[in-house]
Amino acid sequence: MEKRELLDLYQTMQTIRKFEFQTSKSFAEEIVQGFVHLYIGEEAIATGVCANLNRDDYITSTHRGHGHIIAKGADLKRMMAELCGRETGYCKGKGGSMHIADTDLGILGANGIVGGGFNLACGAGFSSKMLKTNQVCVCFFGDGATGTGASHEAMNIAKVWKLPVIFVNENNLYADSCRITDGLASESTADRALAYHMPHYSIDGNDVLTVYETAKEAIERARNGEGPSFIECKTYRWRGHFEVEPETYRPPEELKLWKSKEKDPIARFEKYLLENHGVSEEEVKQIKASIDKEVKAAVEFALNSPLPDKSSACTDVYTDIVEEGRA
């Protein structure tokens, strides 16, 4: 990889993290409302996978979706505006954090139902196959989603029909509060793929280059008409399942370990770039500063945007019917 491409990966990871810390802050300030599930700690996965995708390739995302959406190229301003419920947001204030989508970028939406993206992703892969467009679809999901029936119906049909879908599991060890060892009958989520004779990987999800290379292989397989793959990316979320969750189920020393320089995906990659690719402290500083500026501008954009007109609550239910409002 060229230095420029490596720095792009770094920039994406930092953008996700800084956006998420800002979201956390804005949530505490009650500017951002509702539920927010932050992606901090898992940045290498969305970044490494999406770096292999074309603009028109599809992704399905999850309740913890900000990272995927940023990595697929979404506009931070429209994202933050949506989190703040503004008219200029991605969903015009009708969706919020769990439902950001942008079909122009192939983002088929964050999804509030765990496992909700699986069959959708198969549908997108099916369209690509039928319309011969050579697009692929990446389905992101957490370890908890592997417990849903929907995931198994989807993986089975994806394999039988050789759909160009890549199942990317972000195994952060906890399904809400349920520890993986209490919720998974197998050693690894990748074992699920064994049942469907699907090529599968179990990798360090906090190493962006490993994620990148593994996803590259799986995506090429899908694009070549060889069907789906499954990638288990082992990772950890730094925040609770959702913001302000009274976190009682994780040992503090476990969190400390995953936040250490040796485990943190961004600190690790930064060190690697400084030591191996002639990247200077100054370059890193500049990247961080430019992201800070971008995130700040996103918040300003959101706060300067109007709330949606009440009448808009009755539109977009159907393409051709406006529902009745209050008298």
Partner: protein
Amino acid sequence: MRNVFFSEAIRDAIRNEMLNDPRVFCIGEDIGRVGGSFGVTAGLYKEFGEERVRDTPISEQAIVGLSAGAALTGMIPVAEIMYNDFMLCAADQIINQAAKFRYMYGGGMKVPMVVRMAVGGGLQCAAQHSQSLEAFLVHIPGLKVVYPSTPADALGLMISSIRDENPVMFFEHQLLYQVSDNVPDGFEPIPLGIADVKKEGSDITIVATGLCVKKSLDAAELLAKEGINAEVVDPRTLYPLDKETIYRSLAKTRKVVIVTEEVKRGAWSAEMASNIAEDMFESLDKKIVRVGALNTPVPFTVSLEEYVLPQVNNIVDAVKSVF
């Protein structure tokens, strides 16, 4: 004019749309090689091939969820769920996914898909293959719900449903598949949201859906012998609902009986009744009467099933109760 079975009318509509639009495809259990459990898709597999007429594993979530994803990305699925009872296995895909996409993602998406399903009892299939669950889906903003009662309506409404840009739930009564009737030549769509007066009358309005339209027409014949001239109105689509046609009839007859095959508790007929009570109370001379199934699961043996489901004599009695 030509005379076709209800099942053929649906097939002809699907075939016509498949011929005209390469994005249209069929998906479901046993719909390909064997042509569907009720024979609706017979012949399509041979004509269009396995790519466009897709036999699936027994995976209702995959059938509907994949269809929804395909609809978002350029295809037009016509999915078959064998019985509406099995639709419950795919409830998340229908209700939380397909119905919500356009709204929760801010209006940028279209979900042009049809989910067809057999509905109702009468074939001694018992509690898990005989329900009438249409109210369940009428309750969900984002879905359109169609329930034809004749081959001609099935043909025209299926064409409109496939061309619609929203998820359309298409109910087909099990006992109607083998009913034949004239349909017009050609493939003229019938717009969703337009009721049809199946029989004109002046003394009472019977609003009925699906197989109950036929039963209500039979009841109207018996009532005529007793000097009661009933008007039978079939809404044809439960949402969007053509209140105007129904209310026009009511304004004329000033009496109404609503007849559906659902259990009466929480039924679409209750929704219809409350609409009438809210909007047309002053126009009514008598209380609103509903005829439906008893509040039980559908039993197996024929005598019990007939007793539980609404029959012609129940409709006659209901009408006479307001004279």
